[in-house]
């Protein structure tokens, strides 16, 4: 049987990878992917903890919901991204900075 800490380490790894992706990628969609990675990391935590919570089963339930929400978010995000692409002909977050101080 595998220790919680192992799962946590893995999820931490995923999380930071996601972090790195969202900070560096030149493409909104990839940024989105990075976010998904972070979400997965969180979900992994939840599931791993949820293992000890058989009755209420909070972890797994939560994961289910979060996956759903992730889907919704992604859908909306992609819609917006496409919209932006229509206006700016690019989806590079770095290049989309007409709103600033």
């Amino acid at each position: 049987m595998i220790n919680l800490s192992d799962f946590l380490v893995v999820s931490a790894g995923l999380f930071c990878t996601g972090l790195f992706i969202i900070l560096t990628k030149r493409n909104a969609i990839q940024v989105l992917i990075g976010i998904e990675l972070m979400l997965n990391a969180a979900n992994l935590n939840l599931v791993a903890f949820g293992r000890y919570d058989k009755i209420a089963n909070g972890g797994q339930m939560f994961t289910l919901f979060s996956i759903t929400l992730a889907a919704a978010t992604t859908a909306v995000a992609l819609a917006i991204i496409l919209n932006v692409y229509k206006r700016y002909k690019t989806i590079d977050p770095e290049k989309i900075d007409s709103l600033k101080d």
Binding site: L4, L8, T17, L19, I21, A71, A75, V76, N83
Partner: protein, 182 residues
């Protein structure tokens, strides 16, 4: 070294490796497919936590839903994004990535340190539930438990999510809809 462990290491290596590849590669399409691998691997990890149903959902929704969406997005916003395919510059460290890299690494170190310090392997309530035998084992199935929970404790979120999805649908549709009259 049980089978379980082997699987765990395999999965985690897959997940992290693919994740890092996504981070590293300039090539969008490849990175998307790598993402697919990651998701799969994570699903595998879910299974290792006795969360079979979640794993399935993961595969169905993510791989079946989100990933497809993303690919669609590529297709629609294709030109520029695909143009990256022609001349990918594959150097991993480009100067403007260094700070982000450092930050991520730092974050990781912090987390590790925290995890190690906060001896997560014997959190009080975990131990309690282990003693009470409320820890999931490979034998018991989670599906009907989940079903009952959805009908019971989690009824409200369940319903709310439906509205949420509806809203998201309406909104997304509105945004991506072609303007009439133009």
């Amino acid at each position: 070294m049980t089978m379980e462990r082997v699987m765990f290491y395999l999965m985690s290596v897959l997940a992290l490796g693919s994740g890092i590849y996504i981070a590293a590669s300039k090539n969008l399409v490849r990175s998307v497919f790598m993402f697919f691998v990651t998701l799969m691997a994570v699903a595998g990890l879910y299974v290792l936590c006795m969360a079979d149903f979640v794993a399935i959902t993961q595969v169905v929704i993510y791989v079946g839903g989100i990933l497809v969406l993303i690919i669609f997005a590529f297709m629609l916003s294709g030109r520029e994004t695909l143009s990256a395919l022609q001349h990918p510059n594959n150097k991993f460290i480009s100067i403007n990535k260094v700070p982000a890299f450092l930050l991520a690494v730092l974050f990781f170190i912090v987390m590790l340190n925290v995890i190690v310090k906060g001896n997560v392997n014997n959190i009080p309530w975990n131990e309690k539930s282990v003693l009470a035998g409320e820890m999931m084992t490979a034998k018991d199935t989670t599906v009907n438990n989940i079903g009952i929970n959805l009908m019971g404790n989690y009824l409200l979120p369940f319903e709310v999510v439906s509205i949420l999805l509806m809203m998201a649908l309406v909104g997304a549709a509105h945004l991506s809809r072609k303007e009439r009259g133009l």
